[in-house]
Each structure stands twice: as structure tokens, then as C-alpha cells.
């Protein structure tokens, strides 16, 4: 039976990972994800989890060790943030190209510089195009649930791709929240042992990580892209199974009070919780506003996106990241391209907000709703001084 407990979200996420019985965990410390591997090492040290915990000397080696372990057929897990993610960047695309279902928790944090340890999404956006599946948790419960779901999704025979679960640094990782933690029996029922497509063992030798020359690279890339596109079906299936077993519903884009809303806000991650309160308050005042919370970043849910904005006049996309010298925020750019061919698409505004850990309050969201339609450019740094 699931247990309702109050726990720091990073620790709860670690408990969730442990329930998935990972075989190998390789991690290197970096704030703010560190409590996850720390707590996992506690669990291993207490003998509650039979796993190899490798204290690697860098994030590059963390992801590389996960690749090697995953290659043997082991269930491999790591966690990181910000500069750590950038340091493992080289290996990330390779892991997905090799179809190794490594699971990674990311305690999202701004990329330097100036150096900043607090939350935004600039870290995860650097690996947008590297072939990983990517989920965003809005709260502790989602973080716990997604950790468990992610192993099942990644290891599905039709997927075999790495996946990351994004938890806003501090805003989620360091918050204590009341949440349900499933028990081992329930997780064992949901998540069977990994059945690898191939494994490094002399009884069935395989060459992994071969050289792709120009006459095969295009085909190999198309195959990778298709694998990501096709993974959507598996994600939806796993979420259905989750809902059936645990009663909590997951969708690529969760709509909150969008019925009849003229103005709709879009968020990823923990800001959705704050935005909900703003929507409630404005609705109470008779202002027809709504909220879309994106939970699935890769593969991007194009179809759900189109459906979600039907009838909406103005869509304010919030981005906790700036594509410097580019189109504003990466989420808004994606939403715009998703809706480009739609005849009745909303006006899309893009607010860059909550950068480097700056608080985003209920009042901020209310103000953004009130200012809807008044944006001057294609994107704006909300609340910037000067």
C-alpha cells in the first residue's frame, strides 16, 4: 500500500528510484540535485537496495559509467544539474544513439554565468536535441511518480531510449511535501526487470557504438527520430497503466480551467503550482483565464498542443530560459512551430521569467494575465529592471 508521508522531494525521488531496483548508480555531486544520489547511497549503505554505487570523478564519467552499465543490461541511474549536465553533454547524445535506457533526474539549475546555483531551465534546454525523452514534474508527487514511470517507459521494447525527469532545483528538490510513496510490491508489479534488446556478455557478443559513415548516418538519424516520435504511444500507455494502478492521471499537457478561457498561461515545472492559484483567484473575480502545464517535453506533444489551445485568444508561454540571440524561450519557439499551420491559432506571447532562481509569485502570474495582448516583441524578460 502507498504511504502518505511528508518528505523532502529529492529524498522522496531517491526513494522512488530505489523502489525501481536500479543495478548501477553513478553520480557526481552538484547542487541542487545532490540530495538524490546522497540519499540513494544511504539506501545502498543501509542494505535496503542491492546496487553498485559508483562515486565517479566527474559527470562525464557518471554518464559514461551509466552507458557501460546499461550496455551490460543493468538498470542504470544518475542525477545531475546545470554545469554537470553540460559536462556530460558529449555522452548524452551517444547514449540515446546507442539506445541505452539510462534514467536521469535533473535538479534544474541555471547555467553559468554569472555562476548561479538556483533554478531555471537553461540546463535541460541544452540537451533538447540529443534524443532523450524528457518529463517535467510540477510537484513532489509528480517527481516521485515520474521517476518510477520513467524506467518503464525507457526500457519498453519499443522505446529503448534514455529519459530524464526534471525537478526544479530548490523549488522542488529541497521542498518538503506531503506525498504518496508506493510500496515495493506495487512498484514490482508495475515495473518488471529490464529485458535489454542486447547486452554485453560473451555468451551473445555484440558490437555497441560502431562508426556511422556518411552513407548510413542519415538512415541512423531517421531511425532515432522515429524512435522518439513512436515513444509517445508508449508514454501514454504507461501513464494509463499508472492511472489504473495508482489512481493519478498523467497527460502530456495538463489543462487547468481552460474551458471558456480567453487567456491561457503555459508553464513547465513547479511554476504550474503557483500559476494555478493565480488562475483560481482571477476566476473568482470573473476573469476567464486558464493554465496549461506541459509535462512531456520530448517527444514534444504536437497533437495535444493543437487541441489544448482551441478557442484560446491569447496564449502566454512562460520560459525559464532564454535562447540568447534567438526567438526568446525554447518552449515558446516549440509552441509557435507546433501551431504555425493552425488556421485559428491564438496570439502567442512569451515571458522569460524565474531566471536563475528569481521567485515567481501568484501576483506575478496575475499581472501577466492582466497584461495579456500587450506584449511588444515576440518575447519579453518579465520583471527585468531598467
Amino acid at each position: 500500500m502507498s504511504k502518505r508521508i511528508g518528505m523532502e522531494i529529492a529524498l522522496a525521488a531517491a526513494e522512488a528510484v530505489a523502489l525501481c531496483r536500479p543495478d548501477v548508480i553513478a553520480a557526481y555531486p552538484i547542487t541542487p540535485n545532490t540530495h538524490i544520489p546522497e540519499h540513494l547511497s544511504d539506501i545502498v549503505a543501509e542494505g535496503r537496495l542491492d546496487a553498485e554505487f559508483i562515486c565517479v570523478e566527474s559527470e562525464h564519467s557518471a554518464m559514461s559509467a551509466c552507458a557501460g552499465a546499461s550496455g551490460t543490461g543493468a538498470r542504470a541511474f544518475t542525477a545531475t544539474s546545470s554545469q554537470g549536465l553540460l559536462y556530460m553533454d558529449e555522452v548524452l547524445g551517444i547514449v540515446s544513439s546507442m539506445r541505452l535506457p539510462v534514467v536521469m533526474a535533473i535538479g534544474n539549475r541555471a547555467i553559468s554565468g554569472p555562476i548561479n546555483i538556483w533554478n531555471d531551465h537553461s540546463d535541460i534546454m541544452t540537451m533538447r536535441d540529443l534524443g532523450w525523452l524528457s518529463l517535467f514534474a510540477a510537484n513532489g508527487q509528480e517527481a516521485v511518480d515520474m521517476m518510477i514511470q520513467s524506467f518503464k517507459i525507457a526500457e519498453d521494447a519499443a522505446v529503448q531510449l534514455p529519459i530524464n525527469v526534471n525537478l526544479d532545483g530548490f523549488q522542488l528538490t529541497h521542498m518538503v511535501e506531503a506525498l504518496f510513496l508506493p510500496d515495493q510490491k506495487e512498484v514490482d508489479r508495475f515495473l518488471p526487470r529490464r529485458k535489454p534488446y542486447a547486452a554485453l556478455h560473451p555468451d551473445h557478443p555484440v558490437t555497441m557504438g560502431a562508426l556511422g559513415m556518411p552513407d548510413i548516418f542519415t538512415e541512423a538519424t531517421k531511425a532515432r527520430d522515429q524512435a522518439l516520435v513512436d515513444s509517445r504511444k508508449v508514454i501514454l500507455k504507461v501513464w494509463k497503466e499508472w492511472e489504473k494502478q495508482f489512481g493519478r492521471r498523467y497527460e502530456p499537457i495538463e489543462a487547468y480551467k481552460t474551458k471558456g478561457a480567453d487567456v491561457v498561461m503555459m508553464t513547465m515545472g513547479s511554476m504550474g503550482e503557483t500559476a494555478e492559484i493565480a488562475v483560481d483567484e482571477l476566476r473568482k473575480d470573473g476573469v476567464p483565464v486558464g493554465l496549461l502545464k506541459l509535462k512531456l517535453w520530448r517527444p514534444f506533444p504536437f497533437e495535444e498542443m493543437k487541441k489544448a489551445v482551441r478557442g484560446v485568444k491569447t496564449l502566454i508561454v512562460t520560459d525559464r530560459c532564454c535562447s540568447l540571440g534567438g526567438p526568446g524561450g525554447p518552449l515558446a519557439a516549440e509552441v509557435r512551430s507546433a501551431l504555425y499551420a493552425e488556421a485559428a491559432r491564438p496570439v502567442i506571447e512569451n515571458a522569460l521569467i524565474g531566471l536563475g532562481g528569481r521567485d515567481v509569485t501568484v501576483d506575478d502570474f496575475k499581472q501577466m494575465f492582466r497584461q495579456a495582448g500587450k506584449s511588444k516583441g515576440i518575447y519579453e524578460f518579465y520583471g527585468v529592471r531598467g
Partner: protein, 323 residues
């Protein structure tokens, strides 16, 4: 019918030792290494010594490129390549994975050795951090560095394993330059400083010695390291047929003595000539050293002599350190 003089196999066991080597090939024909590649040969010999129950993790480099152009592979051993700097970390993951899967009964209850291989660039430069980490953590893994003394795969650029005075494409000899201005980094010694149970130098020019070292390292449960000088005729501007000879000259001149360090105790494994041959004998056969003046060669001779004395001092005294 042979008319050659009959030679007693018993009295000349070493001559016939190649006949006794396992005939099974794990690194197969059809690979695309250059003619006379000392590294491809070394890998072939290493695999014979390792045998079937082995998993290989390979750093990016010549050997990865020439052996696995998809959909072809020269490997019959399970093999994984991820990237350039991280082979030791990949090997660490493989080792951890094999260990835990065996413990949990997922894999058969049988010992499988993890062996990580890389060139000098992937080992002593960009891969040094991952190597140090893996050795320091004590993974049950053999790491073999195939040192051809420059970045051959990308076109003979200088690495920290390139010897003093060698001309490379990024440390070229010229009117104002001797070529590479630094002395070869002593990575076997760095490995010894990690206090791992076994470190050795090797060369495919001494195939039985090399294979014995691989077998010994394989039998040790823990981190072990072999630094294998792998002659690259292409990059060294030497004749392909002289590949083996160059490895021998490296030993006979004292440039690359073959030794092993077992639990801190140094031992020469191939007898050194006394006196050593002059380094000129080694240098003059290679185009990469062609520009060197007699004075510069004298400098190299001085350094080789010094390093050799340091090594011999350890060979003579290291046993007493453990007493």
C-alpha cells in the same frame, strides 16, 4: 620437406612459442588499419591472451574506427565504444554492471573480465581523469593503453606521450623548432602512484612477454594497467615491415624498457643488453626524428640514460621497500 637445419623444440622453446598460442582470433581480418599497424597487432595478441570471457570497452581512436564501420565489426568479443575521454568510466560501468547482474542471478554465475583499451590520446591526455578515477576506485578492470605516441587517428598531432624531438603535425620541426619540445609523460609511473596491484609496460615486438602480462593482469581481481608501445609506421614515418624491429630497438636502446610492477615491486621482464645500444639506432629509422642534430640526439641520449637509471634503481631496490 624442410631442408632447414633441424632445431630442437625443447632446447629452443622460445623460438617455437608462437606455435603454442591460441589460434582463435577475436580481432578479425578485414579491419582497416594501415599496413604494418603495431596497434592492430597488439590488440590481436591481447585478445588471444584474454580469451572469450571478456568484455572490451574502447576509447575513440584508430582502433575503434578501423574495426567497426557499421555494419561491420572485426570484434568477436562483446565490445562497447562511447566516446574519446571516457573509456575507463565506460569500463567501470561495464564492470559494475557485470558484477551486479551476476550477483543477482541475472547473468550466469561465471567470471567475466572487463578490459578497457585506448590510445595514448584517449589515455594519457583527454582520458587521464577517467582513468585515474577508475583505477583509484579499484574496479576489477584491466586497462591497456596502446601508445603510438601521437594522435594518429586525426593525423599525427602531438600528445603528451609524444617523445621529445619528434615532428608531428601540431609540433612540427622547422627552422625555429625542434618539433615536440617536451619529454614523454610517464603514465605507467602515474599508475604505480595509484597503488594498484599490477602495472606493466609491453610491446607486441615481444609477443609472449606481452601476452603473459595480459594473462597475469587478467588473473588479478582489481585494477591493473598495461602500457603497450604500439609502433605506428604511418605516423612515425617508418617502413611498415620494420614495425616489430622498431619495438625491439626501443627496448635495446633503453627508450622503452619492458618491466612490471607487482604490488609496488619493479622487475624487468625482458633482458636488457649491456651496454644499451645508442638511441641513434632507434631514431635514425624514423622520419619523425630525421631533422635532429647530433647535439639534440645527445640530449635525448642523456635523458634516456637518466630515466633508465631511475628505473633500474627501482628494480634493484623496490623489493626492499616492501620488507
Amino acid at each position: 620437406m624442410s631442408t632447414a637445419k633441424p632445431i630442437s623444440i625443447v632446447e629452443n622453446f622460445e623460438i617455437y612459442a608462437p606455435k603454442l598460442v591460441d589460434k582463435e582470433e577475436f580481432f578479425c581480418s578485414g579491419h582497416r588499419a594501415c599496413q604494418g599497424c603495431g596497434e592492430a597487432l597488439a590488440i590481436r595478441l591481447m585478445c588471444k591472451a584474454l580469451g572469450k570471457d571478456t568484455v572490451i570497452a574502447n576509447a575513440t581512436g584508430c582502433m575503434e574506427v578501423i574495426a567497426t564501420p557499421y555494419p561491420a565489426t572485426a570484434w568477436t568479443l562483446p565490445w562497447i565504444h562511447v566516446a574519446f575521454p571516457c573509456a575507463a568510466a565506460v569500463g567501470a560501468g561495464v564492470e559494475a554492471g557485470l558484477k551486479v547482474l551476476r550477483r543477482k542471478g541475472v547473468n550466469p554465475d561465471r567470471y567475466i573480465k572487463t578490459v578497457t583499451i585506448g590510445g595514448d590520446g584517449g589515455t594519457v591526455d583527454i582520458g587521464l581523469q577517467a582513468l585515474s578515477g577508475a583505477m583509484e576506485r579499484g574496479h576489477d578492470m584491466l586497462y591497456v593503453c596502446f601508445d603510438n605516441e601521437a594522435y594518429m587517428n586525426t593525423g599525427i598531432q602531438r600528445s603528451s606521450a609524444t617523445p621529445f624531438g619528434a615532428s608531428t603535425t601540431t609540433a612540427p620541426a622547422g627552422k625555429a623548432s625542434i618539433g615536440n619540445k617536451t619529454w614523454k609523460k610517464n603514465v605507467p609511473e602515474i599508475m604505480v602512484a595509484h597503488n594498484i596491484p599490477y602495472v606493466a609496460t609491453a610491446s607486441p615486438s615481444y609477443p609472449i612477454d606481452f601476452m603473459n602480462k595480459v594473462k597475469k593482469a587478467r588473473s588479478i581481481q582489481g585494477p591493473t594497467y598495461i602500457h603497450c608501445l604500439s609502433v605506428c609506421p604511418t605516423g612515425w614515418r617508418a617502413k611498415s615491415e620494420e614495425c616489430i624491429k622498431l619495438g625491439r630497438l626501443a627496448l635495446e636502446t633503453g627508450v622503452f624498457p619492458l618491466y612490471e610492477v607487482e604490488n609496488g615491486v619493479y622487475r624487468l621482464t625482458v633482458e636488457m643488453p649491456d651496454p644499451l645500444r645508442p638511441v641513434t639506432d632507434y631514431i635514425k629509422t624514423q622520419g619523425r626524428f630525421r631533422h635532429l642534430t647530433p647535439d639534440e640526439i645527445r640530449d635525448i641520449q642523456g635523458r634516456v640514460d637518466l630515466e633508465y637509471r631511475k628505473l633500474m634503481n627501482k628494480v634493484e631496490h623496490s623489493l626492499s621497500w616492501t620488507e
